[in-house]
């Protein structure tokens, strides 16, 4: 009975790690092959977070119920809160990046 539960746990860990590798590889391939910035932002937000969450879930199943898995859950929540904000900041940075040098002329700097 115990062997059965152990093999089930190994199977779940294996499935989670394989999906994580697939999403991380698709992140790298997408960043190389996509044509412009906004489509690259899609690859950098969704595939990356799916890969990260699945690798963390594999580690949690491998560890079991303890304080270490609670700490892993804290890191997971922190990443999933901050990553959309990072992507939004880079996108709005690109908007201003193209706009600002046109709106300031040379006379503004001489003042």
């Amino acid at each position: 009975m115990i062997d059965f539960i152990l093999s089930i746990r190994q199977l779940f860990v294996f499935i989670f790690f394989i999906t994580g590798i697939y999403f991380l590889l698709s992140t790298a391939v997408g960043l190389i092959r996509f044509p412009n910035l906004y489509t690259r932002l899609h690859a950098g937000s969704k595939c990356l977070m799916a890969g990260g969450i699945s690798v963390f879930m594999g580690c949690i199943v491998l560890e079991g119920i303890s304080f270490v898995s609670l700490k892993l859950i804290v890191i997971m929540i922190f990443l999933s809160i901050t990553n959309p904000v990072t992507i939004h900041v880079i996108a709005s940075f690109d908007n201003n990046y193209n706009l600002i040098p046109k709106t300031y002329t040379k006379e503004d700097f001489e003042k």
């Binding site: 790690f17 590889l25 391939v29 960043l31 910035l37 990260g52 491998l62 940075f93």
Partner: protein, 87 residues
């Protein structure tokens, strides 16, 4: 476990192509953010490989600094104007 770490490092090296090539500055920022998260995963997996669970604290602090780093870069980096400081 060791093969998993090697595959993640290989994807990070693939992503580094975009950092070198990238035509504009936001492309490089996105690629750098991706490399940072991948190495955070490597740190977590290394703590499982060496069976020292206390190293997860290092990954936590690394995640905090990654967020701050990208925010400050996105705020103050810009295209240099003619006759300015960076020209």
């Amino acid at each position: 476990m060791l093969y998993l770490i090697l595959v993640i490092v290989l994807t990070a090296i693939l992503t580094f192509y975009r950092v070198i090539k990238g035509p504009s500055l936001p492309d490089r920022l996105v690629a750098m953010n991706c490399i940072g998260v991948m190495f955070l995963l490597v740190l977590v997996l290394l703590s499982f490989y060496f069976e020292r669970k206390i190293f997860i604290d290092v990954a936590l602090v690394y995640g905090v600094f990654l967020f701050i780093n990208v925010l400050i870069m996105a705020k103050y980096l810009r295209k240099p104007w003619k006759g300015g400081v960076g020209d």
